[in-house]
């Protein structure tokens, strides 16, 4: 359904998207996972025909984004990261306007608006101005505006940023239900849990490049024999953990400090743990707790980049 080939986008001296190539199959939820600034939003902007690529090409539903942008726009729906709604219009009026812009009208439009508002749980607030909505409600309406016209392909750009857990849960469930209806979804996020929960396949992006691509099991195989050890320290981190000494320990792949926690990627967690504790104690660092995490996408990212997703 989506084919991306050697897509590159440069802004002056910054390469936001660097030689990106991937495909998204019809009916699939494909996630682009990566930290802020990885190039996810730029990729979506190019695919949505808002930006021109510096080089490369992409096709959606067989239409070239360069040669047939209007046809592409008819196939796609976009839920931007920002709340792109008119604050002084009501929820109903916003959907009416965006529906009309996609050619919907009359009874069909009214029915779509009612059913979509029902789906996102905003029926009771339909006549209220968007300005009065909570952050979560605005996010849900933002989502509704992007899929009112029942697109074949839906781009969701970090749709859960900055909202409460309840609204986040509602959005994730809604995305799954849309996919069950047959909509192909390209989802960008920097939340590893969301990518793991939703995606059939995941592409991991960093600095504009696609550094890994596959199903979750395929990706996890890359770190299949690795565990992540998490050491939690006292709040008063004085002295600091001896990162260099820990990194030198045999069997340690990567060490990363996050606040009062230390993430250690290792393939021999059982053997290495006593040594880790000993080194810490030698340096006067008091350990409050130890946790061993099964392999996950964050571990993949950590292994590939040496950094955490939140960086």
């Amino acid at each position: 359904m989506i084919r991306v080939q050697n897509l590159t986008k440069r802004f002056d001296h910054l390469t936001a998207v660097d030689d990106l190539t991937f495909e998204v199959r019809a009916g699939e939820i494909f996630s682009l996972l990566g930290p802020n600034g990885a190039g996810k939003t730029t990729t979506i902007s190019i695919l949505a025909t808002l930006l021109l690529p510096t080089s490369g090409e992409a096709w959606i539903g067989g239409y070239s984004i360069l040669k047939h942008p209007l046809e592409v726009r008819r196939l796609i729906g976009v839920v931007p990261q920002e709340i792109a709604l008119y604050q002084d219009l009501s929820g109903y009026e916003n959907l009416w306007f965006w529906g009309q812009m996609y050619g919907l009208k009359g009874r069909e439009l009214r029915q779509r608006i009612h059913s979509t508002l029902e789906q996102v749980g905003l029926s009771e607030k339909a006549d209220h101005k968007v300005r009065t909505y909570s952050g979560g409600m605005k996010r849900r309406l933002n989502l509704a505006a992007g899929l009112l016209h029942r697109p074949q392909v839906l781009f969701l750009d970090e749709p859960t940023v900055g909202i409460d857990p309840q609204s986040r849960r509602a959005i994730l469930d809604f995305v799954k239900s849309l996919n069950r209806e047959g909509i192909t979804i390209l989802y960008t996020t920097h939340y590893m849990e969301e990518a793991q929960e939703l995606s059939h396949r995941v592409g991991i992006m960093d600095h504009g490049r696609l550094i890994a691509l596959g199903t979750q099991s395929e990706l996890l195989q890359q770190v299949g024999e690795y565990d992540t050890l998490i050491l939690t320290f006292e709040d008063d981190l004085n002295p600091q953990p001896p990162l260099e000494a820990l990194q030198r320990l045999p069997g340690v792949i990567n060490v990363l400090q996050e606040d009062h926690r230390l993430k250690v990627l290792t393939r021999t967690s059982g053997e290495i743990l006593p040594h880790l504790i000993a080194v810490c104690l030698e340096h006067g660092v008091r350990i409050r707790g130890v946790e061993i995490i099964e392999p996950n996408l964050e571990a993949v990212f950590l292994k590939l980049t040496g950094r955490a997703l939140r960086d």
Binding site: S45, P80, W98
Partner: protein, 426 residues
């Protein structure tokens, strides 16, 4: 087309929903007009000459030298009009025109030879008394385009004079005919009696009536205040039209900032359709503002704006020119704040330069030329002509100027915007 109108309708709705905007573009100018009217009229105390046109230099060429020509000269030179007009008599038409062209006079009134004879024929040519006679020789007013308000005043005085003359002719004819029919007077006497009657009706109270109508109805403080309002209201309406246009155009950048423009750009809508829709939205808001302001001021201040079609045409053309300026500023600006500050500055400069605050007739020639860049100046010219009794055809020049200004600026703005990051795929 449907998408274009949808965008325009949405923009208009958003403006109406914004209370602070409504306050600024509708209630603001109304209150400002009222306030300035009160300050320069009632609160200023006496009816000072500075509150309206005064000492208008007029040059008169009386080639007629007969009773009507002399009467018009007497009216224009009468003490009652002394504060309003500053008449001067010359014998040469070219000299009079030169004075106008050199801005020494607001208008030249040329009373052609035979003017009286064409209206009051000599004895024996009684058919010429008929009102339908087409052999009248017209008066000529050679107007200074730089002093539209003054010209409008002069024109209204001359028109009133001609109306009185025509009234005398008609009354003379209609009064004498029944007398002849009933045998009260002999047909041979009819012409002499009719001439005397008509002349008496034409001249009776001419000066008194003219003075009353144009400026000085003694006890009539109310008509005087209305005159102040009449000069304030169009100025304020045009001043705030500029605000509405720049505020509306600012929405281009606001929408870009709040990402709704990007969302519009990925609907199956072409960039020029979006731009056109937004332009129409701003234009409609300007038209609605002007219609409401003129309607309310007509009702509240009892203002007479003149020919309705002319006023409508001026509203449409002035709004187009103002939208042109608004979009042009928006095209060059990078942020909504830049549009807001540049728009406010432009509104005030155009207000000063365009005659919204001071009479354009008082401006030095260089500033007068600059004022032609503003929609305010052309709009005020048009409104002054209409208020002076002018018709739609007589405001063709201001209309064309406004239309041209709007088209050129909108085209330029469109070209800049279509190449910008906001509208072009980059």
């Amino acid at each position: 087309m449907r998408r274009i109108l949808l965008i325009a309708f949405k923009d208009l709705l958003l403006i109406i929903r914004d209370r602070s905007t409504v306050l600024m573009i509708l209630i603001g100018p109304f209150l400002l007009t009222l306030g300035m009217g009160l300050i320069s009229g009632q609160m200023g105390g006496s009816a000072s000459p500075s509150s309206g046109p005064s000492d208008i230099p007029v040059v008169i060429v009386n080639q007629d030298g007969q009773s009507l020509g002399n009467a018009l000269v007497n009216v224009l030179s009468s003490p009652e009009l002394a504060t309003l007009l500053e008449p001067g008599l010359v014998s040469d038409v070219e000299e009079a025109k030169q004075q106008v062209e050199e801005d020494q006079a607001a208008a030249a009134i040329i009373i052609p030879a035979g003017f009286t004879r064409s209206l009051i024929p000599p004895a024996g040519e009684w058919q010429a008394w008929l009102p339908s006679s087409s052999s009248n020789i017209p008066l000529q007013i050679y107007a200074n385009p730089g002093r539209p308000n003054s010209v409008a005043v002069v024109e209204s005085i001359v028109r009133e004079f001609l109306f009185r003359v025509e009234k005398g002719r008609i009354l003379g004819w209609t009064a004498i005919a029944p007398l002849v029919a009933k045998g009260v007077i002999q047909p041979a006497q009819a012409e002499d009696v009719g001439r005397a009657w008509g002349e008496s009706q034409a001249w009776s109270g001419v000066e008194k009536d003219l003075i009353r109508v144009v400026i000085t109805e003694g006890e009539a403080t109310r008509p005087r205040d209305l005159n102040v309002m009449a000069s304030m209201a169009p100025g304020m309406a045009l001043l705030f039209l500029m605000f509405t246009a720049t505020f509306g155009a600012r929405s281009l950048l606001v929408e870009h900032r709040q990402q709704t423009l990007q969302r519009l750009m990925i609907t199956p809508t072409l960039p020029h359709q979006i731009l056109l829709g937004k332009g129409i939205g701003v234009y409609l808001s300007g038209v609605v503002q002007q219609v409401l302001l003129i309607g309310v001021s007509t009702w509240f201040f009892a203002l007479n704006w003149g020919d309705a079609w002319g006023v409508l045409a001026l509203i449409l053309c002035a709004s187009l020119a103002a939208v042109g300026w608004g979009l042009f500023i928006a095209a060059l600006a990078r942020t909504p704040a830049q549009v807001a500050s540049a728009g406010t500055a432009l509104m005030l400069v155009f207000g000063l330069l365009g005659g919204s605050f001071v009479d354009l007739g008082d401006m030095p020639p260089a500033l007068y030329v600059l004022s032609r860049l503003t929609p305010n100046a052309w709009g005020l010219d048009g409104y002054a002509i209409l208020a002076g009794g002018g018709s739609l055809s007589q405001i063709a020049q201001p209309l064309l100027a406004l239309l041209l200004m709007g088209v050129v600026l909108i085209t330029l703005a469109g070209m800049v915007l279509m190449r910008s990051r906001r509208f072009a795929q980059v």
